[in-house]
Amino acid sequence: MAEAIEKSVGAGPGGSDPDTDNYLTHGKGVLSWLFTLDHKRIGVMYLVAILGSFFLGGVFALALRTELWTPGQTIMTADTYNKMFTLHGAVMIFLFIIPGIPATLGNFVLPLMLGAKDVALPRLNLASFWLWLTGATVAVASIIIGAVDTGWTFYTPYSTTTTTAVTAMTLGAFILGFSSIFTGLNFIVTIHKMRPEGMTWFRMPLFLWGIYSTAIIQVLATPVLGITLLLLVAERTLGVGIFDPSLGGDPVLYQHFFWFYSHPAVYIMILPAMAIMSELISTFSGKHIFGYRFIAWSSIAIALLSFLVWGHHMFTSGQSSLTNMIFSALTFSVAIPSAVKVFNWLATMYKGSIRLAAPMLYALSFLFLFAIGGLTGLFLGSLSTDIHLHDTYFVVAHFHYVMFGGTVIAFLGGIHYWWPKMFGRMYSERWAQVSALLVFVGFNLTFFTQFVMGSHGMPRRYYNYLEKFTVYHQASTVGSYILAVGFLIMAGYLLHSLVAGEKAPANPWGAATLEWETTSPPPYYNFAHEMRAGDPYDLDAMRWDPATGGYVRKDPSSVLASSGEAG
């Protein structure tokens, strides 16, 4: 019985070979992908699209950093530069990082972690993807017809009076917002309704707690962005005028509306990253996660508190002192759960059995970089220091450390972790280490000098700058090129692995969550049997199997549902 079950986990029913019969090969042709209801295919399509957006946003970054090599004009005019930083921000935020981890890894992994066949609402999932494509197309079209020069924040009255393609870009962002809302909605319903036998809320992998908390924010905050962008479009096209002082409106009201979404949005970015961290640290420390409940509750706490702090982006806007005080105090509160997570991850490593595989290198980078990013948030949450640092490069450095050093690094860790599961291939560990090192070094060189520039008074969004800041800018530009090289190498070995990588076993890392109980890549129906949840961090339940070159469960029946029938 045990062998029969083991065998069928390693192969599809009837012993089919996962190499040739899996979700990637099931159904051929472009249409079978564009009209798929399979969450795995949707996740992969998102991955391609989103990494493409990252590349596009990166090109804008390199362009602007090149311009900043010297003060004054280097390779472009001021107007072009202003468009470069706006597009870098808008593309990175709306096309890449907000959909980011949930749309790609969330879509792929969530149902598998639940032992389920798909998300609760597969058609809505496909609709989300099409909405992403539509919104991205509109956004890219706006770039082609003239681009935007307002900064990704579209502050009024500049954004209601500039002649650039603001209306088109905001409509693109509006559509992308709905993609995000529907993804979040889908994940909430899936996690509520489709957990397997034995998976109570506190037996869920922490990745899912993170995705769930993110989904709460996606669903509650994004509609406010939607109405804000609609109001902006109404003001530009019809002259509705609620942000225009000459028509009786209030430009600062726009900022309140905008940040009411955009602050929670940054937690949409970081919560999934933290969610991945829990998986990576546990798996590669060979140990049960430490402080499960604290980590789980901290995700929820961050999601809820994130709605209360938006005013810390507006300390100099003219808000009353009382308002400033309240927002500052609340801002510090949201720092605490993040700190708790970091300490719990470190405690997980204590007395572990640590492997420095590529995903773990990214997890360790995260700890280093997110610590800096989070701690520099303290300077900005504190009122008197923020007055000096607001709208300087200090802020730019802070958010790049948390969004890039935090989210992107964790995203890369997750991609490297689930890559074998998604594509059935292992990548070159050696080249992955080289790339991780280049990204780490390049990142710090790019952004650390920006802290010092900023505290010395270098404002952000500046095309021209005083001579004394030149050396900082040049260091930063060199760093950005090193980053680019690191990413190019990464693209190289990952693509190479798809055609020539070593075949991946079902469970290369020895993790205990359910996605590793099916083949790499999975069949289109995910699991040969109905699954039951065990402890997602019971790594002792796994053993190395030299025959398959991966890990297998010591007692496979422990994760099969009592009925034992194929789903």
Binding site: P111, L185, I188, K193, V240, G241, P245, S246, L247, D250
Partner: protein, 301 residues
């Protein structure tokens, strides 16, 4: 509405990724409630804008709401409440597989929705005719072709004082526009004021609260006749809120049409009523939002 007793049973299609029909139904229900939460937040932004502007400039709202006809608003409220009833009835009919009754209720709901849009069209038309539009297009005048300007003589205005009301009243009889007949503030002094000067932003910076317009009138006029500065803000908010709501009503009409088509096709013969339930839920929220709009825009005292 639906409880466990009426959960769909055999004969219906359960998507392959669900374990059973109940899981499918529960998922749809939770999904729809989450979606409705997003709609509340979507409108919420506009309600916040309303609250902010009203608390900062109550005179603008007191002035503006006189141009809304409470009777038409109340009529629309009743229409929508009736439509919620017919929608709920439609769900019940679908649960009981009474397809004829279901189709009747769907049609009645849509008729109510059309009626609502019709009343709104009348209201919007009245506003447009008199230039009572959102800020950028705010241009209040008596007659479509004759804007009031600074050079309009007192004589031209004094005499038509009575004539305006008569003319408007007769127009009302022809097209059912009751907006301006009811209003007490359609006097020359109200619509004479030029819209707030938009060309010089510096003047907007003068005076912290924007009541600059109020001081231009003589002391013997009623405060209610005085058009406050930035009166157009009321209409901006009015059109934004009712306009967004109207778009959702149109969406609802589309959804009910789809349900009618499904009913015609026989999709509900098995007692699978989830779709009807979900659309009706949406419709109830649309109704609920209207009730708040009616309270906040029409019934200001």
């Amino acid at each position: 509405m639906a409880g466990h007793a009426t959960t769909p049973q055999e004969g219906l299609r359960v998507d392959h990724h669900f374990e059973n029909a109940d899981q499918q139904y529960q998922s749809a229900k939770l999904g729809m409630w989450v979606f409705l939460a997003t709609e509340i937040l979507f409108f919420g932004g506009l309600f916040v804008a309303y609250a902010v502007y009203r608390s900062n400039h109550p005179e603008v709202f007191i002035f503006g709401h006189h141009f809304l006809d409470k009777n038409l608003g109340a009529l629309n409220t009743i229409i929508l409440i009736c439509s919620s009833l017919t929608a709920a009835w439609a769900v019940r009919a679908a649960q009981l597989k009474q397809i004829g009754l279901l189709k009747l209720m769907l049609v009645l709901t849509m008729l109510c929705a059309f009626g609502f849009m019709g009343v709104k069209a009348v209201e919007y038309n009245a506003k447009w005719k008199h230039g009572l539009l959102w800020a950028g297009s705010y241009d209040p005048h008596l007659d479509h072709d004759e804007p009031i300007t600074e050079s309009t003589t007192d004589e031209e205005l004094q005499v038509p004082g009575a004539e305006v009301e008569a003319e408007v009243a007769s127009q009302a009889q022809r097209v059912g526009d009751a907006d301006l007949v009811e209003s007490e503030v359609v006097s020359e002094s109200t619509v004479v004021d030029a819209p707030t000067d938009r060309s010089n932003i510096a003047s907007a910076a003068e005076g912290p609260t924007g009541l600059a317009g109020a001081g231009e009138h003589g002391p013997d006029e009623h405060a209610i006749d005085i058009e406050p500065a930035n009166a157009q803000t009321f209409f901006s908010i009015y059109f934004l809120m009712t306009g967004l709501h109207g778009i959702h009503v149109l969406g609802g009409i589309g959804a009910f049409l789809w349900l009618l088509w499904c009913a015609q096709r026989g999709d509900f013969a098995t007692g699978h009523f989830t779709r009807v339930d979900m659309v009706a839920l949406y419709w109830h929220v649309v109704d609920l939002i209207w009730i708040y709009l009616f309270l906040l825009l029409y019934l200001i005292e």
